[in-house]
């Protein structure tokens, strides 16, 4: 099969699964009105499929900081962190992340995806092992591949299964990087961090925790699962993203290991990418302050999340195992998921559609992402639409 024939096969597979003329993936957003509303075509829609957990994309403090940075430092750095791309804002944000987590140091990356790529491929290499949860995000899988280390998976959130695999590695467990996530993006469930830390310590491995979906969501000051569980000292490296609760784009890693800084000299994804624009950094810095002081935002976020989760659960939808801002509706077939997704859109509600092989266990998902900026009335409205659609989808 030629290179282009392979792409034709992809097109054929998409055509067989998805209705003609429906932009399921890469939906064109024409106008954005607020953190929760936009226009698609001529229809006003409610965003329920973004990762804007704290609703900070239009926070005046973030807008002001971004405008000022844009005027003062220009549209882009046009260079890598390794070269001319480390402005005072980039360095300040690294210090602020380290302070936020009470850690020795931090590194800022251009995206969250890149943070995982850079950290995993920088820490592990040929001859080492990376032990990952089966439901890991693509950035974790890709980081593993880039590292050249041996990749071993354990069953999702199953610490006994993880321990079994560490035991089989024997002494190699000491050169093993375990990777877990604070909140998993597919089902919205949290990692059993206490058990993972216990096992990781017993086998002298290194633990990297990705707090992409839990930053701003869990913990008193929003650090994530490490704060919620009080286990920050048990985690060696914490990564995360600016593109969810911080309403920007970028990534970070913090650690108490002084060796973290050496990643700047060996990690290809860090070295060979232009650094985030000054405006991006400035808005992330402003958002981090709001996140840290965002007790009320977290209270609202969790109230909305519990309200919608309880309603969908009562309606009989099969959901992820625990309530949270990521609410996954698990459907038996792609066709059912597509019907639900389309029905929601027809009612002005945008959610994420996840089809096999991206969805776990060959299922299909319709995933809602709740925001602190949603209102209780909006959650009620969403619940009513789900109730109406249930009759036609499961008849």
């Amino acid at each position: 099969m030629s290179l282009l024939d392979k792409l034709d096969a992809v097109a054929a597979a998409r055509k067989a699964l998805l209705p003609e003329g429906l932009d399921v993936f890469g939906m064109p957003i024409e106008e954005v009105y607020s953190a929760t509303e936009a226009r698609v075509g001529d229809r006003r829609i409610l965003f329920l499929g973004t990762n804007n957990y704290l609703g900070l994309t239009f926070a005046p403090e973030c807008l002001k900081a971004a405008h000022e940075a844009l005027d003062k430092e220009g549209t882009g750095t046009t260079g890598s962190r390794m070269a001319n791309g480390s402005y005072s804002g980039h360095r300040a944000l690294e210090r602020e992340f380290a302070e936020f987590y009470h850690c020795h140091s931090g590194i800022v990356f251009t995206t969250g995806y890149q943070a995982n790529l850079a950290m995993i491929s920088g820490l592990a290499g040929a001859g080492d092992v990376v032990l990952i949860d089966g439901d890991s995000h693509a950035s974790i899988y890709d980081g593993c591949r880039l590292s050249g280390a041996e990749i071993i998976r354990f069953r999702h959130n199953d610490v006994a299964d993880m321990e079994k695999r560490l035991r089989r590695l024997g002494e190699r467990s000491q050169s093993t990087l375990i990777v877990a996530e604070g909140i998993y993006s597919m089902l919205g469930d949290q990692a059993p961090l206490a058990e993972i830390v216990r096992v990781k310590n017993a086998y002298n491995s290194i633990l990297l925790l990705d707090e992409a979906h839990s930053l701003g969501v869990l913990g008193k000051t929003g650090q994530g699962l490490v704060e919620e569980t009080g286990l920050i000292d048990g985690v060696d490296f914490i990564t995360g993203t600016f593109s969810k609760s911080l309403g920007s784009i970028g990534g970070y890693c913090v650690s108490n290991h002084p060796q973290l800084d050496q990643l700047r000299y060996i990690s290809r994804p860090y070295i060979f990418t232009a650094s985030p624009s000054p405006a991006t950094i400035a808005s992330a810095r402003a958002a981090l302050k709001l996140l840290r002081d965002g007790t009320e935002l977290r209270r609202q976020l969790w109230q909305n999340s519990r309200q919608l989760y309880a309603r969908l659960d009562a309606l009989g939808y099969q959901l992820g195992p625990q309530p949270g801002p990521v609410i996954a509706n698990i459907l038996d077939s792609p066709q059912q998921a597509l019907m639900l997704w389309k029905g929601l859109l027809d009612h002005g509600i945008y959610v994420n559609l996840i089809l096999p092989p991206a969805a776990p266990e060959g299922k299909a998902l319709v995933r809602c992402s709740v925001s602190a900026a949603h209102t209780s009335e909006q959650m009620d409205h969403v619940g009513n639409v789900f109730a109406e659609l249930r009759k036609s989808i499961f008849q």
Binding site: V129, I152, R153, K164, R168
Partner: protein, 84 residues
């Protein structure tokens, strides 16, 4: 003593039965993807079952050259032999 290849092949075929329809005959030359329709996700799950069945670690990187049942049995045999 190294585990016998034919024993590995027979245990592997037993596991592969779960991933195929009852009328499919599984032989060493059977293609995992084209004949048993084991896609990338199923293969990842199959690997975890194989690891448990044979008490070994099978790095995902090692699957790049695996196309047939024989390739997989051979990989397991190789890992099992190296461990003993």
């Amino acid at each position: 003593m190294a585990t016998d290849y034919s024993d590995i092949l027979s245990r592997l075929c037993f596991h592969l039965k779960q991933f195929s329809s009852p009328d499919v005959v599984i032989a060493p030359e059977t293609d995992l993807i084209n004949e048993l329709a084991i896609d990338s996700v199923k293969l990842l799950n199959l690997v975890m079952e194989i690891e448990d069945e044979f008490d070994i670690s099978v790095p995902l990187n090692a699957l790049a050259d695996v196309q047939t049942v024989h390739d997989l049995a051979n990989l397991i045999h190789h890992i099992k032999s190296a461990k003993q």
